[in-house]
Each structure stands twice: as C-alpha cells, then as structure tokens.
Symmetry: C2
Subunit: 596 residues, 2 copies
C-alpha cells in the first residue's frame, strides 16, 4: 500500500532547484536532466522490487542476537546486493575511489526513494556513506585504499561510534581510551552504545569510526580523537581476515526502525581492538561533526520519506473509502461520499502535504548548498553558503523530525481504526519516525546548537544570509499574480524573526541560562518561518509553470493550495512563539525539580 510518486520530486529537482545546471561543472558533467531521471528510475526500480517487499516483514521479524551474531532476513542482504550493483554505495564519491561523483542533491533524491520503500534496510548504506566521507576527507592515501575503496564498492559497511552508556549526548564525557602501540596503531578500549548498523553478517567487514581519548589527552571535547576500527583486521591484500576485538554485546529492541540493527559494542575487552588514528590527535570531534552534519540532513530526509509514504497511503485510502455525507446533504438513503470529500480529512491530508513537500524542499535546498559549496568559484559565495548550511542544519534535522512525525500521526487518523492496525503500513511508519527527534541529537541539542552557536557564528552572518535569500524570493513573489499577499506576510514574519533573533543573541551573551532556556522553541519557530519560505519558493515556481502552460494544472494548483494552507494554518502560530521568546520567559528555567 506504499507507492512511490515522483511527481513532486521531479518538481523539486527540476523546477525549484534546476539540479541539472550542475552539469556545467566538470565534476558533475554526466548529470544532465536525463541522467538524473535515469538515476531515479533505477532507484525506484530497486526500491519497489527489492526494498519495499520486505519492509513490513523486517518490522515484524526484527534482527535477532543469536550466538553473538546478528540474524536477520536474507531479503536485506539481497536488496543491498542490488543497491550495490547499481553503484549506489559509491554514489557521491570520487571516481578515483570507485565512486560516481553524483551531486549530493541527486544522491539525496535517490535516498528519499529507498527510504520511502524501507527505512530499515536503507540505514546500512547511508551510515556507510557517512563513515566513508570521513575517510575521504581526512584519511591518508593508504587508509583510503584499505578502507574507503571497499566501502565505496559496498563490500565493507561503516558506522559512527560516538555515544557511550554513561554519556549519551554529552560527548565530552566519553571515556573510551586509545593506547598507542609500537607500530603506530592504537588499542581501543571501551563501550559504545546506540551504534546503528553496529553489527550484521551482510558485508565483508564493518569499519567503525570511533571517538576515543588517547591516554593523557585533555578532558572534555578537546581531548577526543577519531579512530578507524574494523570488525575484521585486514590482511596485506586488504581482505578481511581474523576478528578484531570488537564484540557485539547486545541489540537494542526498538519501537520502530527495527530493520537497522542498533547495538551495544565492546571494544578491546577479551582481545585487543586495533584502531588507526584518522587525521590529527584531539581533533576527532571536529571531524565527526562533518559526519554528524551530513547524518543530520539524512535524518531530516528519512523523516520526510516516512511521512511521504504515509501521506500517499492515506491519500489513496481517502480517495477510495466511502463514508458519511456532507453536513448539508444528510439524506440517509443517498450514497455516502468518499472521505476525501470531508473538510477535516482534507485538513489532515493538507497538513501532511504541507509538511512533506515543505520539508523535502528544505532538505533538497540544503543538499543543493552542499553541491554549491563543493563547486563554488567565488570564495565569498562559498563562505556564505557554508554559514547558511551550518545555520540550516539543526532545522533540517529537527523540523521534519517533528512535523513529519505529526504527518504520520495524521495518516493513521485518516485511516481511522484501520490505521491503528498492523494490516496497514501507516502505524509502522509512525513508529519508525518517532526515532528521528531523538537520534543524531535531540531537539534540545539542536536548539542549543542553533541558538548557542549557529546564530552568532561569524558575527551573525548566517542569519544575514538567510534573510537576504528569503528577501530575494519575497521580491520575486511580489511580482507574481496572487502571491503578493504571501510575500508580504512572510516579509513581516521575517523581520519579526530577525528582531527576536537579535534580542535572544543579546540575552544569550548576558545570561546564557536564561537566553538559552527556550532554545527549543526558537528552533521550532525559526523552522516554521523557513518552511514558509520553502512554500513561497514552491508557489513561485508553480505560478511560473502555470503561466507557461507547463506541467499538470491540478498538481500546480495543489502546490498553491498547500502554500495557502501553510500560511493560514501553520505560520501564524510563530508570532505567539516570538512573543514568548521576546519576553525571555523563565517558566521552565525557574521550575524547581522538587516541585514536580
């Protein structure tokens, strides 16, 4: 009952972002519009044929911990074999290392398709790409040859090992240690918790990227280094040979997202865990942030994909299910209408559409920034894009995690009792999506990152760039039929938001506890304003196409209606939140633990 509809994806890539323009850069020369569509055709075919069919099964029969190993359905490995044969493991990597040099925007669009079909199975390659990216950025040539190349080929998978049972989000408190050996390698000792993809029997090897402290390192985040720790040691030919001292100690049994194993790993307990320092000592957290930022965009994308799957499933149900009559047509002997005719069902569908397509626009806009940064010729423009991407990252991670989860809640509601049963996919999608506000940094962490760091970074240049980009689209919208009202509304919200941001930045400087007390609310508020911008951009593109007689008029009218929905039903609440933020409300801060 999950279907993959690419109409919106095509609109976003081609009409909103003109992704094919990237083909003008030599790196992306192969990716003209036809090639991009070809990549998505392949992704769709593999997703439908090999990812989708076992998604429900993998949820009902989650991976199990048997005799120290992970046992899971063969369909996962089979799906990933097809994924690998199509080259997707190496999608974004350099040709030099076996990759396809795909633009990040296209890679994310393809990922979106796989995640819609089966988020659990999709987890393995996307974690692998993140780990491989660290090697590509900071590895020596030898490290790349031994570890990156087999990951790009999809023979080795990767993980990121940050959290520890006692430390959770507080990475400064990790205690895993690294002791130097005579041969330049290290012996890693410690326990890592919440490691997604931390073990499986699908790939030839697993390359763990592990945060640890070299003996004698300073306390806190400044004493953390990053290590490459394979599950199997490599023989001189680079093939996996004997086991390294990395032991699967247990699987976490989750509410959803069950197909991606989530593990507790022990390093160096019974036998030594040999690790290799990546980059320089004590710079591990800075390196890892690159991976985390990428993972955060991936989390946002996953949240959108789950909501998109639920939206489509509930839309199909609403079109087919007859029930009830209009308030002014209660003749009981007349036939019932399809529930999509009811205003409240349309509200539940519009809320989903607004969240899914608004959030997808934000994720792909961010991916496009990654591509722009990579290929920029103007250093000033690159710097602006970098700061904007830094600013947007906590929003890309958190907004979809919150509102696409809400969308999945609405999808269940459209199906009513059926939606609450395991016979339909919408309850599974809702359970899967509940993970996204937690992993890769909770909303609380993202809020602190946004208000405590990103807002004031480079003298507030990120916020200034954001405001400029939004204003450029507002100006464009002003010239278009029917969009002036939206443009004016967003301009007002933007200027109020900039003012509130300034007040808060000042307050954080004066009194960090008070200034940051409502950081999560700020995150939420700014997220809504940014999504309104994404809707204005979509409306501009839709009006343009409508005027040119280009594209499906129903689809384009739907874009305008969803924009209207977001501006009428969602955006106004941000004003109330700005009032709260402006007042430096200390209700939560001043609450005493004993009062609960």
């Amino acid at each position: 009952m999950i279907t993959i509809d690419r109409t919106d994806l095509a609109f976003q890539l081609h009409d909103l972002l003109d992704t094919a323009r990237l083909a003008a850069h030599s790196r992306f020369a192969d990716y003209d519009r036809a090639a991009i569509d070809g990549v998505l055709d392949t992704a769709e075919r593999i997703a439908i044929n090999h990812f989708l069919p076992h998604a429900a099964l993998l949820d009902e029969n989650e991976p199990a911990f048997v005799d120290g190993k992970v046992v899971m359905d063969d369909a996962v490995g089979e799906a990933l074999r097809h994924f690998r044969e199509a080259g997707f493991f190496g999608a974004a990597f350099d040709r030099e290392w076996g990759g396809m040099q795909m633009p990040e925007t296209v890679r994310q669009a393809a990922s979106f398709i796989f995640m819609m079909a089966n988020i659990g199975t999709s987890g393995y390659p996307f974690l692998t790409a993140g780990a491989a990216n660290l090697l590509a950025s900071f590895g020596t040539v030898e490290q790349k040859e031994r570890f990156l190349r087999p990951m790009v080929e999809g023979r080795f998978y990767g993980t990121m090992c940050l959290s520890e049972p006692q430390a959770g989000s507080s990475l400064g408190d990790i205690v895993t240690s690294a002791s130097p050996a005579d041969d330049g390698s290290y012996r890693i000792s410690g326990r890592k918790m919440w490691i997604s993809g931390g073990d499986q029997e699908i790939s030839d090897n697993i390359v763990h990227m592990v945060l640890a402290r070299i003996e004698g390192a300073p306390p806190g985040v400044k004493g953390i280094s990053l290590f490459i720790v394979p599950k199997y040691r490599l023989d001189p030919d680079g093939m996996a040979s004997e086991r390294n001292g990395v032991v699967l100690a247990g699987l976490n049994h989750k509410m959803g997202y069950r197909g991606t194993t989530n593990t507790l790993l022990h390093f160096g307990e019974d036998e030594p865990a040999i690790g290799y320092l990546l980059g320089e000592p004590h710079r591990g957290l800075a390196y890892m942030f690159q991976m985390m930022n990428e993972a955060r965009i991936g989390v946002g994308l996953g949240a959108v994909a789950l909501a998109a799957a639920g939206y489509r499933a509930s839309l199909a149900y609403a079109r087919e299910r007859p029930q009830g009559r209009h308030p002014d047509g209660k003749d009981p002997s007349g036939p019932p209408v399809a529930i999509i005719e009811h205003a409240d069902i349309k509200r539940l569908l519009l809320a989903q559409k607004a969240a899914v397509e608004g959030a997808l626009a934000l994720v792909l806009y961010s991916a496009d920034l990654v591509d722009r940064i990579r290929e920029a010729e103007d250093e000033q423009a690159r710097r602006e894009d970098e700061l904007l991407l830094d600013l947007l990252t906590p929003l890309v991670k958190s907004w979809p995690s919150e509102y696409c989860l809400e969308a999945n809640k609405h999808a269940i509601q459209v199906l009513g009792g059926y939606g609450y049963t395991r016979d339909y996919p919408v309850e599974r999608l809702y359970r899967d999506n509940r993970l996204n506000p937690i992993h890769e940094g909770t909303h609380g962490i993202q809020g602190m990152d946004l208000l405590g760091r990103k807002i004031t970074q480079a003298g507030g240049a990120g916020v200034r760039t954001l405001a400029e980009r939004v204003m450029a689209d507002i100006k464009m919208a002003h010239t278009l039929d029917g969009l002036a009202g939206f443009a004016e509304t967003l301009a007002t919200h933007l200027s109020e938001t900039v003012a509130t941001t300034g007040r808060l930045a000042h307050a954080v400087g004066k009194n960090p506890r008070l200034g940051l007390a409502n950081a999560t609310i700020y995150l939420d508020m700014l997220g809504h304003v940014v999504i309104a911008w994404m809707w204005l951009r979509q409306a501009v593109a839709a009006v343009g196409k409508r005027a040119n007689g280009d594209g499906d008029p129903d689809f384009l009218d739907g874009k305008l209606a969803a924009c209207r929905y977001f501006f009428a039903h969602e955006l106004p609440a941000t004003r109330v939140k700005r009032d709260l933020l402006d007042s430096l409300d200390d209700t939560t801060l001043s609450m005493k633990p004993d009062w609960f």
Copy 2:
C-alpha cells in the same frame, strides 16, 4: 518503572471537588473521605499486585485467535478475579442489583489507577460497566435479572457493537438486521467490526449490546434499534448454556492497546443469533449515545492515565540520569548534572504535568457533573449540569486524546534513546495512547458533535452555563494573591471565545459546510480554554491551601508553576486559532481532491 502516585488524585478529589460532600446524599452516604481513600487504597493494591506485573507481557504476547477462540495470558483473568472480588465490577450500580453505589467521581478515580497500571486488562470491566449501564437504564426487570445482575457481579462481561466494516463512524449506514421471532425475541444478522472485548474466555458469558435495524425500519439513524445478544444463551436459571450464533471471525492486530481484544464478530451466519430488544424500537441510537457519552469520558480518562504513567516514569528517569552541564558551567572535569536540571527537560516535564493534571481535572469535573445530575434536587440546576456535561463531553474525549498522547511523546524524549527501546514502558504507553484519538469517535466526529450540535443545543444554554462557571472561578481567583493576572487573561480568552462561538454558530446556520469546515480546530481551541480554566481552579485551591499552611508546599508550588506554564506556553496559541475561525477560512473546504 511505572509507579502510581496518588498525591494529585487526592488533591483533585478532596481539595478541588470535595467529593466527600456527596455523602450527604443517601445514595452515597457510605462515601465519606475515609471510605473514598479506602476504595483507592484497594484499587492501588490490586493494580500494583495484579494489573501492573503483566502489562508489558500482554503487549509483547497479545491475545491470539486459535481454533475460533481467544487465547491470552492467564494473568488477565487472574487480575480480573481480584478486581471482581473487590466489587469493582459493580462499583457504580444500585445495591438492588448487587452494586456498591459508588459516586461516579470515585469510580473514575479508581479506574484511573487501574488504567495507569494496565490499560489493556482494564478494558474489559470498563466496557462491561458501559453495557450494564444501558441495561440499568432501559432494561425490563426480567432483563436486569438475567443480564445486569451477573454483569454487576463480574460473571458476565459486556461489549458495545456499533461499527460495521462498511460503515465505520457513519452509524446511519449500518445494515445488521433484526428479524422478529414468534416468542418476542429477534434473530440478528450481520457483521460488527472494531468490537473491543468482543471475545475472550475469562467471563462466563458476554453480553453484546448490538445496534441493528428491525426489518422495515426507516433508513438512517432513525431506524436503528438496540439488542441484547449474549454469546451463550441462558438456561432457565440464568446460567450460560449453549452457544448463541455470535462467532469470532477475527482479531485486529493493533499498534498498541493490545491487551484488550478487538474483534470482528459475525452474527447469525451459521446458526441464529437470538437477541432481545432493549427499550423501544428505533430508539437504539439515542440509548447508545448514553453509553457512548460515558465511554467518551472513559476514553479521556484512559488517555490521561497513560500519560500519567509516562510522566511519572520520565520524571523518575530525569531525576536519576546524570548528563551534561549548565550552559554557564561547562567545566568538563566537573560532574554532570541530573538531566532534570536542564531547562528543556523541565519543559518536557512541565508540558506533561500540565496535560496530565489539567486533563484529569476536566475528566473528574465531568464525573462530578454526573454525580450532581444524579442527586440534584433543583430541576433547573440539573438541566444546566446536563447541558454543560453534554457540551464538555467531546472535549473530555478529545483534549486528553491529543495532548496526553503528546505528553507520552515527551516522556519518550526525556529518556532519549532508552525511551525508544522496549526495555522502558514509555514507548508502549505512546503506542497505547495513539488509539484514543480514534475510537469512540475521532476528533473529526467530536468537532462536528461540538460545533454542529452541542453549541446550539437548548439555544446555546451549554455555552452560557460554561461561561458562568468559568466566570465564577475567575472572580474567586481575582481575590487571591498572585492569581489576578491569570484571572484577567482567562477572562479575555473567555470573552473572545464566546464571541467566536457566536460567529460560528451563525455561520453554521447560514452555510453548514463552511461553518463546520474548521470544527476540529474549534474543538481544539475550546479545549485549551477549558483546560486553562481547570488550571485556574487548581491554582485557586493551591493558593488557598498554601495560605492555610495545609499540604506539601513543594506540591502546591508545582501546581502554580504548571498553571503558569499552561498560561504562558499553551493558552496564547488559542488566539491564533480564533483568528482563523473568525475568518471562516475555507482553505481545507475548497481544496479539490484532484489537487492532492
């Protein structure tokens, strides 16, 4: 990890509602304060010893459909044996039929305790009470003797059979038929879907209350009658004997709430299903509304109980889990603080506290109205209370279903990754609570009931009574230290709400489709205003006790802080919703199905 804390329950019953005052009525003469506390002691003991221990087990090993029967863990029957021996099946019923004549407020408070411990097992007696209430209200003496008495004794259980696979919420479209037999009984034929407790092997018999059409009845809701259809026919001594033609056709496999079987039942397919008309022909839906209204209060209570369990579990975790440091104290070598020290964790806990205690106040206020209506000596006062209860019922059902589910979401967030695992109860509570916005009428149905019927009932007397009651508490608050600001704020919200209500009532009269298009948003908005009233009432009681040096000061300060939270963080958004409602926004109504 679920604990039962009765501090707030005691505050609500004794300080807010003075439930023991009901002992002045002869019906409730036994229920002085000591007796009420005794009832709750018994409930707590049974809940802790017999309901709580198998709650997680029942979720992991849900009831199964084996050889036409329901197989479930013996612990359920064992728990209900204790429940029965303590007399709870007959809690609210007349002594004449074996009951305990407990005030509804006390019965709901006891139910709250059982539901916190185990919502699945609690389902059976609460469905039984609803069915038995129909018999008590509309049954003949013979029907009461044969069916009501064994239900009050807990030997027979009951169900309500409304929905059908093709009809869902649209009861006017049900097709189950009733054909009169020569002996005055009927032969029932049809299929009923979503029947909770529809089958089990615990009770001696199951008494289904079935909506069906007598042959030749008018179409729609005016042709529906109500029938008593037992699983086993009764012998002359009233004991269950041979099977009646009610067959379990399947179990629904749900996301949560798994302990309460949910069934598809076939009536009269292979052998006749003998049924007995309850009350008069064609009045079935009106009778059933009594049961539904009661069930709706029960749904609200269940939603609160699930959130209360999650709140307590997450609060205990937050007090014990050390992680991170304050924004102004980042010395990495210092010890981390308990996460309850972080403002954002306090926000997640305050949001839960505000939802749980605010919603519990509303549920118990409604139960108190039931008691007042029952014992009223003044016909005018009774009528006012009835109309107020009618008005509040959709709010009692829907507000907790929405915001206590949100509270369960926050409980997971407090626990982070741990909360997402099945090792902690919070994910289960969240899954359980997702049912509540669906059953006994979705939010959409409640919104139509509220705005389409309840608002205009008796010339708007319900809204007038509500406004008078709120104003009385506002006046009281004005006289108390520190509450004048809350009183003024609520007075403004109330008068705006009354104005919006008037505009909408007018619009509904002129153009029902447009007037009702945003009924769910009206439901949400009014719910928030009513919960703010409940918080003001709690603040008034807390200030009074504080001034008298009565009660735990921390607990009372917590009440004031939660009131402040609700007024600062939750209530202001209602203004934005009133603006939308006042504008008669038609974004959802005018959305065309083809535009999705």
